[in-house]
């Protein structure tokens, strides 16, 4: 929120010392209360949130590309309408998240800059290509399924605007996952070629989906502090295990095999055991050497640059309109009446 404060000294000055402010912040976190935009917060808390929310927003925006790849080739009008709605949702999720990040005092333009120049990252899952139509199903089922497991605890994140954005996102993700599952189910029960295509897509997306939860707890740079601040409610490994437990039985219903010979139900732990993850692949994709890293960013930058004239035109139009209003030009009176009645309705 870009709101103005009335009659208050800036945080950190006046009567309240930094220690007072920090104690109040700590008490808020301890009470499981929410931190709101105008609250004092430690610089590192703010920086952590900006990094995480921006990365999350970037992931949604970049995530439009692999699926957008199939919009013009969807096999039926129904599937095309669904995919269009889903890709539009991903844009929406990105925008909810950018709006939440902006409440922490960063500019939208600066965040986009950081994405375009590689200063901030997006989820490495979107650096994999969508080779067949079945990939659209695998993304919905596995990638969005993993995202849901990650995001549900974030609806209780200590930072209010992020938590509220996550509530909206989670409601919408559930449609994403179901459409993917339904798509795969149709293929899995189709012709032998369709079955093979579905299995192949799952074979390629399964391991990258497990990597979406981030490095193992033994090697996670951000987990302990984020947990103390209640930004993060569960560790990477806990969430990964939850995802495997939820997903393995769903694969059985599909009649699709998950590509892990070590995957099996463990009656003692009451969880699924699964094989080791190839973290060298994760590191390589993160470092920029995934199949589509350069393509994703160059496409994103091109879209941004191609839109520059639209943004300039909108700004010029608004400026001209304001100038006309201020000089009281006769031809604008109809517009003024309109905006006055809008105000009346709002009051």
């Amino acid at each position: 929120m870009t709101v103005q404060e009335v009659g208050a000294a800036p945080p950190g000055t006046g009567a309240a010392t930094d220690a007072d402010l920090e104690a109040r912040f700590d008490a808020l976190i301890a009470a499981d209360d929410r931190v709101e935009p105008r609250d004092w917060m430690p610089d590192a808390y703010r920086a952590t949130l900006i990094r995480q929310i921006a990365q999350h927003a970037h992931s949604e925006i970049i995530g439009m590309q692999p699926e957008g790849n199939w919009l013009t080739r969807a096999p039926a009008l129904r599937r095309k309408a669904i995919l269009l709605a889903k890709v539009q949702d991903e844009a929406g999720h990105g925008l909810y998240l950018y709006a939440a990040a902006e409440t922490l005092g960063v500019e939208r333009a600066a965040l986009l800059d950081a994405l375009h120049t590689g200063k901030q990252r997006y989820s490495s899952i979107f650096n994999y290509p969508t080779l067949t139509w079945a990939d659209v199903g695998a993304i919905g089922w596995l990638v969005d399924g993993a995202a849901i497991v990650n995001q549900i605890p974030l609806t209780r994140c200590s930072y209010g605007p992020y938590a509220r954005a996550m509530v909206r996102v989670c409601k919408e993700e559930s449609f994403h996952q179901r459409q993917g599952y339904e798509l795969l189910y149709a293929l899995a029960n189709g012709t032998p070629e369709q079955r093979t295509m579905a299995q192949d897509a799952v074979d390629r997306w399964w391991w990258p989906s497990l990597m979406m939860f981030g490095p193992p707890d033994s090697n996670s740079a951000h987990t302990p502090r984020s947990a103390a601040w209640k930004i993060k409610r569960h560790t990477n490994d806990e969430l990964r295990q939850r995802f495997v437990d939820i997903t393995a039985p769903q694969a059985d219903v599909l009649g699709i095999t998950l590509p892990d010979p070590l995957l099996s139900w463990n009656p003692e732990t009451k969880h699924y055991d699964f094989g080791p993850i190839d973290w060298s692949e994760f590191e390589a994709v993160l470092a920029g050497d995934g199949p589509c890293n350069r393509q994703r960013i160059s496409r994103r930058v091109a879209a941004h640059e191609d839109g520059a004239w639209v943004r300039a035109a909108a700004a010029a139009y608004a400026e001209k309109h304001r100038a006309g209003k201020n000089s009281g030009v006769e031809q604008h009176s109809a517009q003024q009446t309109h905006s006055d009645s809008t105000k009346g309705a709002a009051a």
């Binding site: 929120m1 870009t2 709101v3 103005q4 404060e5 009335v6 009659g7 208050a8 000294a9 945080p11 006046g14 009567a15 309240a16 007072d20 402010l21 709101e36 105008r38 609250d39 004092w40 709605a85 539009q88 949702d89 929406g92 925008l95 909810y96 709006a99 939440a100 902006e102 500019e107 939208r108 333009a109 600066a110 605007p161 509220r164 954005a165 919408e172 943004r311 300039a312 909108a314 700004a315 139009y317 608004a318 400026e319 309109h321 304001r322 905006s339 809008t342 709002a346």
Partner: protein, 98 residues
């Protein structure tokens, strides 16, 4: 409020009335150069599933807010006036509908 080409169009805070009979609630923000575009973007972003029957957009810079960080809390005057609540009052046994 930032309006230069370098920082992009200004922020508008968005308020949605979920249905008739309820008041508008803050749901988030959009960027736009004027109110008309802000309304359209707010519709596309915050009401894709029929979440609202009416939208307000307000320039972020036009909102004034109390500060949560004042040492003497802005809302303290309400704190010691418990007699403003009906639960403050003891009622005699047997009295009804009061």
């Amino acid at each position: 409020m930032s309006e230069t080409a370098a920082t992009g169009s200004p922020v508008w805070e968005v308020f949605v009335r979920p249905r008739r009979g309820l008041s508008h609630q803050h749901v988030g923000s959009v960027h736009a150069d004027d109110a008309e575009v802000a309304l359209r973007r707010a519709r596309d972003l915050y009401t894709r599933r029929g979440e609202g029957v009416s939208i307000w957009v307000v320039p972020g810079a036009a909102i004034s807010a109390s500060s949560p960080d004042e040492k003497d809390p802005y809302f303290a005057p309400a704190g010691d006036k418990t007699y403003r609540h009906p639960t403050f009052y003891r009622l005699p046994e047997g009295v009804r509908n009061l």
